[in-house]
Structures are given as C-alpha cells and as structure tokens.
C-alpha cells in the first residue's frame, strides 16, 4: 500500500499539472474560432449527458493543424526558435560551466556565499532585469557610452533590437539554471579520482576531459534542458530586446492569441511546440535508460 501511494503521488502530480492542462489545450486546438465568450466552438455541455459529449466530439477536427502546414511562417518560426534556443543553450553552457567549476573548487567556507551570489539576481523581478538590458544595450546605453569613451569604437554599436540582444538576454536570464545543476554534480565529485589519475600519469587536461566532464554529465544535461526548454518558447526577451524581424514561436503564438483572437490556432501552435519538446526528451531518456541497463 505504501509503495502504491509512493508511486501514485508523482503520477497524480503529472496528471493534474501536465496532462489535464495539455488535454484542455488539445481540445481547444481541435475546435473552431467563434465570436463568443470564450471565443471558440463547440463548447462541451455536460448537462446534455452522453449525447452532448458525442456531438461535441463529432465537431472536433484537425483543420487547424493542416492550416499550420500551409503557411511557411509557422515552420520558419519553429526552426528559428530551435536555432536561437540551441545557440543560447550552448553559450550558457560555455559561460556557466567555468563558473560552476570555479565554485566547486573554491574553499568550503566560500561556497555558501558564492551560491548566494548566483541566486541573488532572482530576488529582482525577471521583467525589470530584462528591461535594464535595454538601458545597457541601446544606442545611447551604458555599453556604447563606455566603448565610445575608451575609444574602442567611434560609432555606437547597434545591439538592441537584434538577435544578439536576444542571446545576451537569454544567457543572462538562464545562467543560474545552468550553473546550479552543474555545480551540484561537481561538488559531489570525489577529488581522489583526479589524484589517482595524476598518479597514473594522466595530464590535468585529459583528467578533466576523462573524469570531470563525464562525472558532471548529469548536471550538464539537466542544465541544458532547464535552459533550452524555456528559451524555445520565450516571449518576453525577444519582444523586449529583439527586433521586429526576430522570428520566434512565442511571438507567433502571441499574435495568434491576441491579434487574430484565434484561440484554436494558437492552441495548435502550442501543441506542436510541446510535441517538439516532449518527443526528443522521451527518446533521449529511453536511450539513457537503455545505456544504463547495458552498463550494468
């Protein structure tokens, strides 16, 4: 019985917070736009009993999904979002790993302070932190004023309203999500392994490559997922820092929802976005599990 409860709790959690919302969105994506409250049809009328459910189901169709294939805008936006998310995840890893490594190497008494410094920015609103980048990156912003003052550049750099600004924003915002899991993996690492490697004639660089990296793999993977997934559907950062030609699926979703008022198409876009995320993650996890079984 105890075991049953232990298993049931995470499943219930998944059901209530993932599956049910997903089914609601899926249901809307199969319906049609209407001028009413809420703005789609058919509505599920449970008072009509079984017949109501049947007639409701018969009115659903995949029209909105076929529509998404007819306009290149949607797949272009998906591809461009995947690209932006992938590049920024890589950049975050390149910046985050050395920081996490440095933290794990630091003396024990420093670590709580360093950890606090990583978490500290979360105490300020996310929106305000992204806004302040406008002040830093704009043509008359701090960065350009500083570079002009040092004489490195003679005309202001245009960074704001470009994809570069979006990358900077994503890397800055999601950096702690990359650092923390890597740090926790590195912190647990047994230092004597490195000593043994050195004793056996392994150079420090190859010891890092052969021991530290593999042992922190779980942290790297967790960090990459934590950055990649929200970055893919990011809306606030591209709309504040990006230009009008920054194409991301979050913006397309916003326009479907707010400008076109087409909740069904917006939901279809969201369902596809979810599938793009869930399918590779499931495949990846299955692969990992297989490998673990093979290792044993």
């Amino acid at each position: 019985m105890r075991r049953f409860i232990l298993i049931a709790v995470p499943y219930l959690w998944l059901l209530a917070l993932f599956l049910v919302p997903f089914l609601i969105v899926l249901k809307i994506s199969l319906s049609d736009i209407a001028l009413s409250i809420p703005p789609y049809t058919p509505q599920l009328d449970l008072s009509a009993g079984w017949d109501g459910i049947k007639s409701f189901l018969s009115e659903l169709d995949f029209e909105n999904f076929t529509f998404l294939t007819q306009d290149p805008l949607y797949w272009k936006a998906y591809v461009s979002s995947l690209q932006i998310a992938a590049i920024s995840t890589l950049l975050t890893l390149l910046v985050g790993y050395p920081i996490a490594y440095g933290m794990a190497q630091a003396p024990d008494e420093w670590r709580p302070t360093l950890l606090l410094l990583v978490i500290l920015p979360f105490w300020t609103s996310f929106l305000i932190r992204v806004y302040s980048w406008i002040g830093i990156l704009s043509n008359e912003g701090f960065l350009n004023q500083f570079l002009l003052w040092t004489g490195i550049i003679s005309t202001p750099l245009t960074i704001l309203n470009t994809n570069t600004a979006v990358y900077i924003g994503i890397v800055y915002t999601y950096l702690p999500f990359m650092i923390l899991p890597i740090y926790s993996a590195l912190e647990k690492m047994d230092g004597s392994l490195l000593e043994a490697a050195e004793d056996l004639g392994c150079s420090r660089l190859s010891a890092f490559w052969l021991i530290t990296i593999p042992l922190s793999k779980a942290g790297i993977i967790a960090g990459c997922f934590l950055v990649f997934i929200p970055a893919l559907g990011e809306f606030v950062i591209p709309s504040l820092l990006g230009g009008s030609d920054t194409l991301m699926i979050g913006k397309v979703l916003w326009e479907e929802f707010f400008s076109n008022r087409d909740w069904p198409v917006a939901s279809a876009v969201a369902v596809i976005l979810l599938l793009i995320l869930v399918i590779p993650i499931v495949l990846f996890q299955r692969n990992e599990q297989k490998q673990r079984e093979m290792d044993q």
């Binding site: 809420p38 929106l127 009008s244 030609d245 008022r261």
Partner: protein, 361 residues
C-alpha cells in the same frame, strides 16, 4: 489612448477610503486620466475605486472574451467595442441612472453609433485622430520649406521616406490604423474589408520598409521629443505629448501634428460595462461621474485628448479647446474617416500581411 505597449499592465490600486466600502473596478488605458478625479469619485460616492490600466486593445479583449474579468467598467476602442458587443461581452446601459447623458456631444455620439447602435452599450470617453507628427526643423531642412508635412506622401512616397530615413521614421505597430492610412494614400476606401484591396497596401509598405526605423506604438513619443526621429505616424495625443515634452526640455525641437490632408482616421475610446460586472450599480455611478462636464474637462485638460462631452467645452483650457490638432475645425472634421472591424478571416489576412511587412517573412 494606447500609451505604452509594454505587454504588461501596470496596476494602480487606490487604497483610499474605508476598507469595508463597496468596490468599483475600472480598467482604462494607461496615462489616460487626471488621477485627482479618482479620489474625487471616492469622496463623492463613498465607493472604493480600484483603477487598473492596460496598454493594448488586444489585452483587454482577451480578458473580456475569456470571461470573468472582474471589472465593472472597461474602455475599448470603437472597432473592438463593436466586435465585443457581438460576442455578448457587454450589458446595455440603464440610461435612467445616467442623467449626465444629456451632456454628450451629438457630433461624436452620432459617429459612435456605427459601432454601438443607439449608443446602447457605451459612452464616449475620449476620441482623437491618427496622423503625422514631424520634427519641423529637420524635415524642412531635408525636404525644403514646402515639405508635405500634412500629407501621407511624406511617409508613403519612397522618395521622401528614403531622404527622411537618415533622421528616422517610426510607425505604429497597429495594422488597424496603418493599413487604412495606406489605403487612403492609394485612393482606396480606407474601410475596405476586401482582402484583394487590402493586399494592394503590401507593395506600398514593402517599398518604404527599409526606411522605417521601427514599428512601435509608444516609443515614438520620446524619440520625437528627443529629436531621435523626425517623422512618426501615430496618435494625436501622443504626438502632442511629445511636442510638450520637447518644449519643456527647450532642446530646440519643434514638433507639429497634422491629420493627413488626404483624410485621417478618427477613433473613439468608449466606456462600457461587462456583462458579468460584479457591481453594475457602481459602474453606472462611475459613468455618470465621468460624464459630469467639469470632471470630463479635467480629464481632457490633463491628457490632451478631445472628449465626447459638449457641456465640458466651457471648462476646457485654451491649450486644448483652441488647438485644431485636438479639436479640429468643422471642415477638418468632415475630412476624418472611421473604420469598422474586420471579421476573423480578414483579420487573419491582415495580421499575416503585417507580420510580413515587419519581419520580411
């Protein structure tokens, strides 16, 4: 209207008055009222006023259509109001509770009837035009003394746009305002709902797209005032705000606003009561309070937009009533056009066209 498209709505919750008092929740555009009026309303009626602000019609509409917004009074623009009435989002006004309706101005209420027949669901709050804001000094320096600062050709003629690109052009990120302007420039019906006619604006925008610095619905206020840009196609009150900011800063920037001589769009922001408003009684009290001549005048004197209240005119300051950019002459009024909402299919075509114009995809 539409002051800041911040994608987020700021919230001003006024906590004055007794906590136990009845609440009235009002949802209005940002920077769109003299806040002293809010305290005055609470003092006069004993009701507690919760005043929230939004910055785009789309955000308001999504809240209304989702149902259960919790607001008692909301302020959509005409075309949005019309569609929301059709969707059943509002309740009819109980005119017996609105004695101040007699203050309203027939010139405006006859025009708002096309959105709201017999004005059954709404009262006019403010109205204005969409037109051209220019930095007079810079534009005449580039295009000469006879620069067409009151003509759509200033922006839509690529020859002019190309020359002005160096000093900066901005345009509203609002297809419902920009496409009618382009149609007017082409000599088409600005209120056309025919996708083929609307499509004719694509080459117009594509030709000038390289010269547009940004499509944005609020940044142009500061940019004009600071001299960062020299031309903006925007809302009257916003350009006038830029003019005043430049004058206060004494930075040598002189801003002028003109409704295009080809014809300019006239828009209306209407106050209405959602169908599921929790405090219908209080909502009527607020509408009646706003329609008081002196209150309405105080709001206009503060935000520099014209209102739909004839009785308020005697309380307006000269800066407002005497400015043809705010209160156009009879003749200029006849040159203004209004538009009606697109249906879902046309709206989709327009949004798609607008995405293409902005992003090139």
């Amino acid at each position: 209207m539409r002051h800041q498209l911040l994608t987020m709505t700021a919230t001003i919750a006024l906590m004055a008055g007794a906590a136990a008092a009845q609440e009235v929740r009002v949802y209005n555009w940002s920077d769109y009222i003299d806040e002293e009026l809010l305290a005055k309303f609470e003092a006069e009626t004993g009701l507690k006023l919760i005043y929230d602000v939004f910055d785009s019609n789309e955000v308001l509409e999504t809240k209304l259509l989702a149902g259960g917004s919790g607001y008692d009074v909301v302020v959509p623009s005409g075309t949005f109001l019309q569609r929301q009435i059709q969707a059943g989002a509002f309740q009819k006004l109980d005119k017996s509770k609105l004695p101040n309706l007699s203050n309203m101005w027939d010139v405006v209420s006859s025009r708002t009837e096309q959105y709201d027949p017999e004005n059954a669901y709404s009262i006019n709050y403010m109205w204005g035009t969409t037109g051209i804001g220019v930095n007079v000094g810079k534009v005449t320096e580039i295009l000469g003394e006879d620069a067409p600062i009151d003509s759509l050709s200033l922006i839509f003629d690529p020859a002019n746009a190309e020359k002005l690109a160096a000093c900066g052009i901005m345009m509203l990120d609002a297809p419902a305002e920009m496409i009618p302007a382009a149609l007017k420039f082409l000599g088409e019906d600005p209120n056309s709902h025919d996708p083929d006619v609307i499509a004719k604006t694509e080459p117009v925008f594509m030709a000038i797209r390289p010269y547009i610095q940004k499509f944005h619905s609020s940044e142009y206020i500061n940019a004009l005032a600071n001299g960062d840009i020299c031309v903006a196609l925007g809302w009257s009150g916003d350009v006038l705000q830029a003019r005043d900011r430049a004058a206060e800063a004494e930075n040598g920037v002189e801003i002028a606003y003109n409704a295009a001589k080809e014809g300019a769009q006239m828009w209306f922001d209407q106050m209405a009561i959602p169908v599921d408003a929790p405090n219908v009684e209080g909502a009527h009290a607020f509408l009646n309070f706003i329609m008081d001549a002196q209150n309405m005048a105080a709001a206009s004197n503060y935000v520099y937009y014209a209102n739909g209240n004839a009785a308020s005119k005697e309380f307006l300051v000269e800066d407002v009533i005497g400015d043809p950019a705010i209160y156009p002459s009879e003749e200029a009024l006849n040159n203004l056009f209004t538009t009606t909402p697109w249906d879902a299919g046309v709206q989709r075509t327009v949004t798609r066209l607008w995405t293409k114009i902005k992003s090139g995809t």
